[in-house]
């Protein structure tokens, strides 16, 4: 059919772009979870300055368009003498933006952790860091699989914006193919369906993961 005829000669190139998209999203979700966990722990801290700083970070990065954030880093970092590639810049920007959302997710997960369970961990002599990393966080993450999944799906959609800073991930690759084939409709229609299938698949995987991880958890 006509769509396949347009895409077929460029399938290898598009797959490379797809691989780059996956790589960016995987790295960014790891970064976002690390940053989000750190921010969530800061937001549940007793020190109001620590809490305030963490809240401000979440607030700012959720209310400024990602494109603006991306340009800020892409054009701004070299000003500071930090020269990293566009891909790395994109991953960092996605991690920072994602972290703002992940911290919300983790924080509400933390709220669900039974205080009795934390008491048990305290009296057994575990220190604060261990209680957070071994008890509170793992429980919070388990109940957060679904909302965390939405963050991941949003990261996949957001990753297309990296094409604006010369990263040839899936959308960037498609742009090139559209320009060389003069068939933008076919290329972008296929691209849209591809993204939609990918995110739909992801949401199924997330539901399955949620069920598996919470198999034995109370109230999950």
């Amino acid at each position: 059919m006509r769509f396949w005829r347009v895409i077929e000669p460029h399938i290898g190139f598009l797959l490379q772009g797809f691989a780059l998209t996956i790589a960016a999203c995987l790295l960014a979700i790891v970064g976002a979870v690390l940053l989000g966990a750190l921010t969530a722990s800061m937001r549940s801290s007793g020190n109001r300055w620590v809490r305030g700083a963490a809240n401000a970070y979440g607030d700012v990065f959720r209310n400024v368009p990602f494109l603006v954030q991306l340009f800020f880093f892409f054009y701004g970092l070299p000003e500071l003498g930090i020269y990293i590639g566009a891909f790395e810049t994109g991953v960092i920007a996605m991690s920072i933006a994602g972290g703002a959302f992940v911290s919300d997710v983790i924080l509400s997960g933390i709220m669900t952790v039974d205080t009795g369970v934390i008491d048990a961990a305290k009296v057994s002599g575990l220190n604060r860091v261990k209680i957070f990393t071994r008890i509170v966080l793992p429980i919070a993450l388990r109940v957060s699989v679904r909302p965390m999944g939405s963050v991941l799906i949003n990261l996949v959609l957001t990753s297309s914006i990296l094409s604006t800073i010369t990263v040839n991930e899936l959308t960037g690759a498609a742009k090139i193919v559209a320009a060389t084939t003069f068939k933008p409709f076919e290329v972008y229609a296929v691209l849209l369906v591809l993204y939609a299938s990918l995110t739909t698949l992801l949401s199924f995987a997330i539901s399955a993961t949620h069920r598996r991880l919470n198999r034995f958890m109370m109230g999950g």
Binding site: D114, G116, V117, D119, A120, A121, K122, V123, S124, G125, L126, K130, R134, I135, P138, I139, R142, R215, F216, M217, M218
Partner: protein, 244 residues
Amino acid sequence: MIVAENVEKRFGDALVLKHVNLRVEPGEVVTILGASGSGKSTLIRCINGLEALSGGKITVDGHDVSTKAGLVAARRASATVFQLFNLYPHMTALRNITLAPIEVLKLPKAEAEARARALLEKVGLGAHADAYPQQLSGGQRQRVGICRALAMQPRYLLLDEVTSALDPEMTGDVLRILAELAADGTTMVFVTHEIEFARHISSRIVFLEQGELIVDLPTAQFFAEDGGLAVPRIRQFLSKMKKD
């Protein structure tokens, strides 16, 4: 030895513990009795440092629980079993038991697991090492809770109404284990509403009344007509318990 001197605890305006004095020597089983809301749980939570004192002092083997270093040492010396088990829901029974020995006592994993399996075997749960709390009955969960406490090889075991969330049959299982521990010479501070059981295993009984420790007697004397029963409030409490 656990020593509480003039312990005072407030929640806001409410004075929940008033000048409580208590000593628990190694080898003793001390039962805390008292009506609901009299402050039994609060006293236990002050001993294991889950609540900060408003006044007075608690030491465990000489370690002051109100200092940071003292609390760490005091928590090494004691272990707590909770009314609602408070097991870690995301870990198997075995992991629940080995977590603190590995992380706090720095025991090698293999040794911690061997110790945990032996404990589970002892409480009749040898086959359930890999079960998650959600897969266990209440009585089984509480037995895991006891194993978790024992795995720390504590000198003092603090137990707060550990059977009151269980049905009678499961209560029997748990009490049997506690009786064995008492017979082995484990030091216990025990909050319970199981009067007969308390009478059976305790060396001493103390009675809390609205935050005040009004009676502290050896078990036999506590139940004697000219001892505890001579106190009207205790007579009333015991007869009410019998009825329930």
